[in-house]
Symmetry: C2
Subunit: 86 residues, 2 copies
DNA sequence: CGGATACTTAAGTAGGTGCTTAACCAAGTG
DNA sequence: CACTTGGTTAAGCACCTACTTAAGTATCCG
């Protein structure tokens, strides 16, 4: 869903179409995405248009990178352990 | 729990002690760890001794590394997108 | 106005996870 | 042998997630 939105803005039903899911289910996903700040939505007339927030994506990127690096150091320690054993 | 086991073998109740959990709960965790091949256990008398399987740990390491690299490439593409926007 | 479209709200449900308690069995100990 | 210890089995429960259906509301179009 986020992937779809990075390709450009979309309405709720456009998002739902390729997603074998009912419309309310899509809206629920959208609500958590909006609450997290990752996407912003705006209702014009009766259609709600959604798009990602680049800065939030940057933050998410940073967050993931941090976790990754802690895992990398864990794996390094794991390596040390495995070398001890062999 | 795995962390504890990398420090050396342990019995079920030794594993349970620092883990505010009932014994059956610990055994359940142990069952999935053993089913996954990550630990091996052996019962002698009435005590079951558990230890990690180094080669499985290696496999897990490799698995994680693979996921990490796919995420890295995803993040690279994300970077490209963000640069387009700014 | 009347109907179709684009959501929205509310309520409920299936399935899964991570425990728990209770009852049990088998191995060691005095 | 009786008691304790270490583990096992079975059943069940609380909570959560990811949906669903049904019934609305609001806008647009002819």
């Amino acid at each position: 869903m986020v992937e779809r939105l990075t390709l450009g803005s979309a309405s709720v039903s456009e998002l739902a179409k390729p997603l074998e899911m009912s419309l309310p289910a899509v809206v629920q996903h959208l609500q958590v995405l909006e609450a997290s700040g990752l996407v912003r939505t705006e209702k014009v007339g009766r259609v709600r248009t959604c798009h990602v927030v680049p800065s939030a994506l940057r933050q998410a990127e940073q967050w993931i990178t941090e976790r990754r690096t802690t895992w990398e150091s864990r794996l390094d320690r794991l390596d040390d352990y495995l070398k001890e054993q062999s």
